[in-house]
Symmetry: C2
Amino acid sequence: MEYMTTASASAEEPRWLTDEEQRTWRAYMNAATLLEDHLDRQLQRDAGMPHVYYGLLVQLVEAPRRRLRMTELAMNAKITRSRLSHAIARLEKNGWVRREDCPSDKRGQFAVLTDAGYEVLSKAAPGHVDAVRQAFFDRLTPEQHKALGEAMRIIAEGLQPKDAGADLPWLR
Amino acid sequence: MEYMTTASASAEEPRWLTDEEQRTWRAYMNAATLLEDHLDRQLQRDAGMPHVYYGLLVQLVEAPRRRLRMTELAMNAKITRSRLSHAIARLEKNGWVRREDCPSDKRGQFAVLTDAGYEVLSKAAPGHVDAVRQAFFDRLTPEQHKALGEAMRIIAEGLQPKDAGADLPWLR
DNA sequence: CCCGATTTGTTTAATATTCAAGAAGGGGCT
DNA sequence: AGCCCCTTCTTGAATATTAAACAAATCGGG
């Protein structure tokens, strides 16, 4: 009951969320859920792929020579290597990405954006930007935008500690 | 290329994101991805269910007589009825929820939190609150907290318009 | 050089979600 | 009643993700 304000029977009384914190947390969860659903739907309709897959193509198009090592791509996208393997397999089947061996490390693989991948990205980008703007930026004041950006940077940083044994998705 | 700053070949030049907007959007996506992964992992480990399922139990424990109609529960959780049907089936198999017919509408079903469901929720709640605090609230100033809450409320509202034909998950 | 530990990436199975379709009841209408 | 349309919820198949295990290559000492 992450939201409970009342007492409980635990040994060390947990610091339950205040009403204000609950309201913020639920607003965050609701917005995050609806937003991801919205963008998934838009991209599935207009580009034939979910939002995460689209994000992978974006990472690739921005990378030097349009290619990235699998682990680096997983790190940029904040996902596991397993998930990435499956995703790249699907994108490869679509002809939007191909794999290449890494010359310097025989274990390594590059994911490379193909011309067809570049095409589908170019076609989908304007509609996606519109969707993001309409749902997100167009509704926020500059102050809210700024505060939200800083807050999210802090949270993202906090969830990827530099520690040795940190449980990060791309190292699992 | 939702992040592109450069020109493109589209008919109406899309309003690409500014650098600042790109930074905010990526920070948001990174934080949201890492946060969901973090909470899913914590709850899977400590309660044997993903974060969304936990959220369903929370909705039920707060509802009168610990029960909600399927559509209402889907609406509260911002998910599709199909997804909810599958989720409740799983929670039912665990003995944490049971279904009941609605007397006034023979199509209707209630999802009801069982005592076992209440137990698992009570045991998991403190650890979950800790995780949310540590990843989220403990890192934000009161000002950031406030701004973020307002921003997310606006975004969530914007994504569930009152319009007749709106494409909302629980009406699909 | 050799060995054990680590890194890299994939694979299989289990689980979860989406998508399209459909069964069944409700409600308004003639 | 009969008809049509809408709402409610579920189902089965396709897709996506997680979890656990693994092969192969690299790395760091001895």
